[in-house]
């Protein structure tokens, strides 16, 4: 099939380009990350993930400023990493307050964490208030009036926040 031959050859070209990128900039990225994060171990992980991301991204045909490009990806991954850490820590803190016999099993914890990470990612780009309004409504079942009072905004604004949040989730789902 000509079509698949064609895409195969693009892929291997792409692989070559990434290989070159890796050879020229991996050491630099690693030291930059180590400096940023203060952990060699974490820096190695994120540098690796950065190149995996480059490898799976198609829009890299001609990268004019490879270091800026890598830094942008690595920065996004680091933010993501810290965000996930925050969520895990908050969940573990909560679990720590439970009596031992009520603690969920490791499998159950993973399921809950995955659900939390997923939800968090869906709301990633929202303003703090929009995110809070949406979660208060969905998770707590708070009314718009209650949310408005809590956030110090109008009911109308709460409606806007809910619409914004839903739109972002829809847009993300559509992009998949």
């Amino acid at each position: 099939m000509p079509a698949s031959d064609c895409s195969l050859s693009t892929d291997s070209l792409h692989g070559d380009a990434v290989g070159r990128l890796y050879g020229e900039h991996h050491g630099w990225l690693l030291s930059w990350l180590r400096y940023k994060l203060g952990s060699a171990h974490l820096a190695a992980d994120l540098a690796h993930d950065t190149f995996v991301r480059v490898l799976t991204t198609r829009a890299q045909a001609g990268i004019l400023q490879p270091r800026a490009y890598l830094r942008t990806i690595a920065h996004g991954l680091a933010v993501n990493y810290w965000r996930r850490q925050d969520i895990e820590r908050a969940y573990l803190d909560l679990l720590a307050t439970l009596p031992a016999d009520l603690a969920p099993s490791p499998e159950e914890r993973l399921l809950v964490l995955e659900a939390l990470h997923q939800a968090d990612a869906m709301l990633a780009r929202l303003s703090h208030k929009a995110r809070r309004a949406f979660l208060m409504h969905q998770v707590d079942g708070s009314t718009y009036a209650e949310i408005a009072l809590e956030l110090g905004v109008s009911d109308r604004m709460v409606r806007k926040y809910v619409a914004q949040a839903m739109l972002q989730c829809l847009a993300l789902a559509a992009a998949d």
Binding site: A90, Y91, T97
Partner: protein, 356 residues
């Protein structure tokens, strides 16, 4: 946005999000609903997008409440630790537990000496009492809890609770009392359920015993495996049904408090659960043992917002099974599979069950 198709698609997403925000506000009137219906019907893409909206909303609604609050709803990150500790004291419970159905719900710890707690429609809320006992609030229920020098007192304001008592942490031990509009129940080392009906209180004892004192009568002890209903002056003993008949409960009994017969007998091949087992609702299940669909629907509707009804011609159909209270769409699918009925979502909050 240069691509006109993508832009058109985006406009639909925007419209769907705005409809959602409007309908959720509770302020949409008849006119808006008609307009929204028209929008839905105007284009298959609109309907498909709306399904997506419902899916997303369902995904968030089914997040476990306490973890979601702790991990997602916190303000500044540095305040997170304090917030997590605070929320355990103040809030929590269990939303619809889609992602981890069997997981133990984080408890709310009852800390103060006198506090009110309630559960939302559809919520099962677990409270840890100061003595280590457990109190479960069924859907749409409310209690006041006051642990004082003389007594551990729980006032049932609304709905249904299940209590698993613990020995008092203080000496001499204080009695554990549940108070309703009709009288006082005193736990005698026990596990039991109390339901508020129309002007009556219903008790079911699983373990130990409970002493009932109606406001205008003398006390009587109800042993494990038995139940009773009482008003301010009289107590009627009840034989405890197998918990298969759990569905015939508060809302249901409220409509026919006195003459209702528990659905008897069980379907071939099913084993009736023991009368001294915890009621199914504490496991977020609705058990039906040869229950008429009409009664089943009435019970299920206590666990959801909006209207849920069934047509008279199918209300008498009998059903058997265990239905997840936390996943109504699954319940509807099960009904459609097992009975000649069709579940119609006329509006998201208006569902009717009709003959197929």
């Amino acid at each position: 946005m240069a691509n006109p198709v993508a832009q058109e698609r985006f406009i639909v997403l925007q419209q769907a999000a705005e409809w959602y925000a409007l309908l959720e506000s509770g302020e949409a009137g008849e006119r808006e609903h008609v307009k929204w219906q028209r929008w839905l019907a105007a284009d298959p893409l609109h309907a498909a997008t709306w399904r997506q909206v419902q899916e997303i909303s369902g995904q968030f609604r089914s997040l476990p409440q306490a973890p979601a609050r702790a991990a997602l709803m916190t303000g500044a990150p540095q305040s997170r630790r304090a917030f997590a500790a605070m929320l355990v004291a103040a809030v929590g419970g269990l939303a619809l537990w889609k992602f981890a159905p069997g997981m133990a719900a984080p408890d709310d710890v009852v800390a103060g000496t006198s506090t009110g707690y309630d559960s939302a429609v559809g919520q099962l809320r677990r409270l840890r009492l100061p003595d280590g006992g457990t109190l479960l609030l069924d859907t749409d229920s409310a209690v006041d809890i006051a642990y004082h020098t003389g007594a551990r007192r729980i006032v049932l304001r609304r709905g249904r609770i299940h209590i698993d008592t613990a020995p008092d942490t203080q000496q001499p031990a204080r009695p554990l009392l549940v108070q309703t509009g009709q009288g006082v129940l005193r736990a005698l080392g026990t596990r039991f359920e109390v339901t508020l009906l129309n002007g009556r209180t219903r008790l079911r004892v699983e373990q130990g015993a409970v002493e009932i004192t109606p406001h205008r009568n003398v006390a009587r002890v109800v042993p494990a495996g038995a139940g009773a209903q009482f008003d301010t002056s009289t107590i009627d003993g009840e034989t405890l049904p197998a918990h298969g008949a759990d569905a015939a409960n508060a809302a249901h009994a409220a409509t026919r408090p006195d003459d209702y017969q528990w659905p008897g007998g069980s379907a071939p091949g099913t084993v009736p659960p023991a009368a001294n087992a915890a009621p199914a609702w504490t496991r977020r299940l609705l058990l039906a043992d040869n229950l008429p669909l009409g009664d089943f629907v009435r019970e299920l509707s206590r666990y959801r917002h909006g209207y849920l009804g069934c047509a008279p011609e199918v209300a008498g159909l009998r059903l058997v099974g265990a239905y997840p209270l936390g996943d109504h769409e699954a319940v509807f699918a099960m009904l459609e599979d097992s009975l000649p009925v069709k579940v119609r979502h006329i509006l998201p909050w208006w569902v009717t069950i009709t003959a197929r």
